[in-house]
Subunit: 249 residues, 4 copies
């Protein structure tokens, strides 16, 4: 448990939940994937303000006012990446570069905000046959690995495999293997501008992964690491650099 | 001299030259900045095909056909970044991710292709008072540093200083200092997808930097390092990932 | 100020002080360089136990019992590196690999413990003419840079210049320039085993650098970052690996 | 095939061969493990001089004269690490720091030269039950991955698993998985001084791994990458730095 007072927003497209696809999702995540993630975080950050936002909210729940006060944004998306407004993506990017922490989960690897911050396709290999995933720690001195057993055993999971087309991460903390023999860099960090990013691949709409205590702990550790409440926050402009720069700089 | 047979394209917005700003540019670079850079490369790659392309060319001279056959693209831009068509930027990005080498020079730090591949603002501090720049080698085992004296002395240069808002580079090869005391990570590499990127800051429209033999050698080394003629080239799609991925993957 | 309760040991060979070389050292650092560093830390860690140890102490003040309870060890040495017992160096190495934090200062770049942990010569270029040093932040998202102005101005300092023969650091946080135009990677981190290492070059026996508030703050930030009080500590064996491994593993 | 003219030395302790342990080693590697590795390299470097050296040779076959002319040294050892003379280890270290390439194979992770250059224990988890190993490429833009299929399938192998206690590598090129579910960073690079190091874990005295064409190709690629025949070679002193530095620098 941490006595940090953070402002945390858990974002989920929440389209699987709305469509009830898969049919088990309502039983597995009665308050949505975002609800389950937020509930897990509340156990670690009892003094923090933890809210959720979804695609259907006005401005996807990510207005300038909300982001200005957010220390950490978590992102879950899968089948509606294309429906996220570019204007909101740019806004989130500005705030990450200005110091807001970002935790991207599972199929969020294809979220516009992730590919935009990383510059690569972020593609990977996948197969959904409910295989066992083992999550091994390879950087035990990193705060995100603190208190995490190695390996974490996830009984059934979608397989994510290499080649994961990302830039070389700043920290490689976890590597997963799957029953089929594939491997995946499942826990990686990046710094962009003043902001920190943590990507963690376990978690899916078909499996109750976000109820596992060790998975919740990794996510909580990730939130703690990307949060930089003391950092001076000033979200920079990133679009049309030539115009602004030439006249004003 | 290398007997590599590469296809090299030197791209320049060529707007300073067209406007004759500064007035000395015609005398300093009678064939344009791109012409000077290409001439320097020809001394190192006599068997390679070295061409130039500019903003004013159809498709900026960077059609799909041209890029498919290009091993290395060099990029010089300054006051017309905003006029480069987004479609061309996406095309170049796809080819870099697919394995084409990219060398970005000086004020190209604000080129759309650079900020898009890196995900940050790529802003920096600058002051143009014709100060002496010293370029120090800090990674002598890197091929780009081979045969380079440390420091390279540039008698008059625009100052570029930290904070340079880039992701952590894969390799930090050169650090510059300026008369005013500023420092700058002036030679850095990145890998994105299958492609390699080298950024090198010396060079400006006001100073004859691209005529200095050691600067030419660094650029030639950079071309040699980002070139991967043996790599299987397949430019991936990067836009609208959700659509393509969900239905087809 | 931090309410962390750490056990911090500031180690100094304390030979300059004993010999009164330079003659000004007694006036500048009446309680020794270690005393000044410890005093600076007390302002930031009022609830921590901060002690000092020197070469002349039995076992250099670094017995197994002391190290077992130490969260962070700071190291200052210069003219007596060769007199540090190899047995103590191995002991410190084991504890760093087991999770103890290490902050190495200035001429400690040639300390046996530093070259042993890094594997390189750790040589550098130097010139002592009391030049101005500017310490620029290049990774503002790192906790060690929190609250640090860029640049820190050190009016008079010994010049340390590249090439600094170290492995590629995990984080490059500060780059310095000097009046003569040299540059130096003056603030870098490494992880070795479960331990974290921070090297910071400012500071010398001839200049009152350790009295500057911003330098004290960098060192305090470094202590906070290398400290990992929650990490399970188990110092591994590192010598004669073949014997232990073959029979026991 | 490369027309590089390199001087390559394959070093093997050659103790398993001398003891005929395991009993199959003579049949599997009739010219020793070193002989098999050298034979594999000859196919790729027909114009290079490829020799072997073993523990039993005078100075282990690694005299100053030999090392001065060596571009790349490959290292295989297992049960006799402790018998390698410290004097020879220091000599090899000096030459690596001076620019000689080093390829360390399999159980060489515990070789004195490897732990000395890296500064960590280099310990790992292992189990020898003849499991299938899959070697996945995670950095396809690296020359060592050129032409390598992903995964390489090794039918029977000793398991090496994380945590592999090494510093963060410069490049992570291959990650392996094993039938038991373990993962391992099986192909990594480091730069130390002017020298380059490549560690590759496949290969054992009990399995005919070094006869697999793709394994031979990875090793050949590794030799090509660590070789820097054009680098100015000057092996620095690394022991007793204080003495030499204080008086002479």
């Amino acid at each position: 448990m941490s006595d940090a007072k953070l402002k945390i927003v858990v974002w989920n497209e929440a389209v699987h939940e709305a469509r009830n696809e898969p049919a088990t999702i309502g039983e597995m995540y009665p308050e949505g994937i975002h609800g389950a993630i937020a509930a897990g975080l509340r156990g670690f950050y009892p003094d923090s303000e933890i809210t959720t936002a979804t695609l259907a909210d006005p401005e996807h729940g990510l207005s300038e006012e909300v982001l200005e006060q957010t220390d950490v944004l978590l992102w879950w998306g899968h089948i509606a990446h294309g429906e996220v407004a570019d204007e909101v993506v740019e806004r989130v990017q500005r705030h990450v570069l200005g110091g807001m922490g970002l935790v991207v989960l599972h199929s969020g690897h294809f979220a516009k905000i992730f590919t935009r911050l990383l510059g690569t396709t972020c593609s990977l290999k996948w197969r959904n046959e409910g295989e066992r995933e083992l999550v091994w720690t390879v950087k035990p001195s990193h705060p995100i690995a603190a208190g995490i057993e190695s390996p974490i055993v996830i009984p059934k999971q979608e397989m994510y495999g290499e080649l994961f087309d990302i830039p070389e991460p700043d920290d490689l903390i976890f590597i997963s293997s799957f029953e089929g023999g594939e491997v995946f860099r499942s826990g990686v960090t990046f710094s962009r501008g003043k902001g920190r990013i943590f990507y963690f691949s376990p978690g899916d709409q078909e499996y109750p992964v976000y109820h596992q205590p060790q998975i919740q702990k990794v996510i909580a550790n990730g939130v703690g690491w990307v949060a930089q409440p003391g950092v001076f926050r000033e979200a920079p402009e990133v679009s049309n650099p030539a115009r602004g720069w030439f006249e004003e700089a």
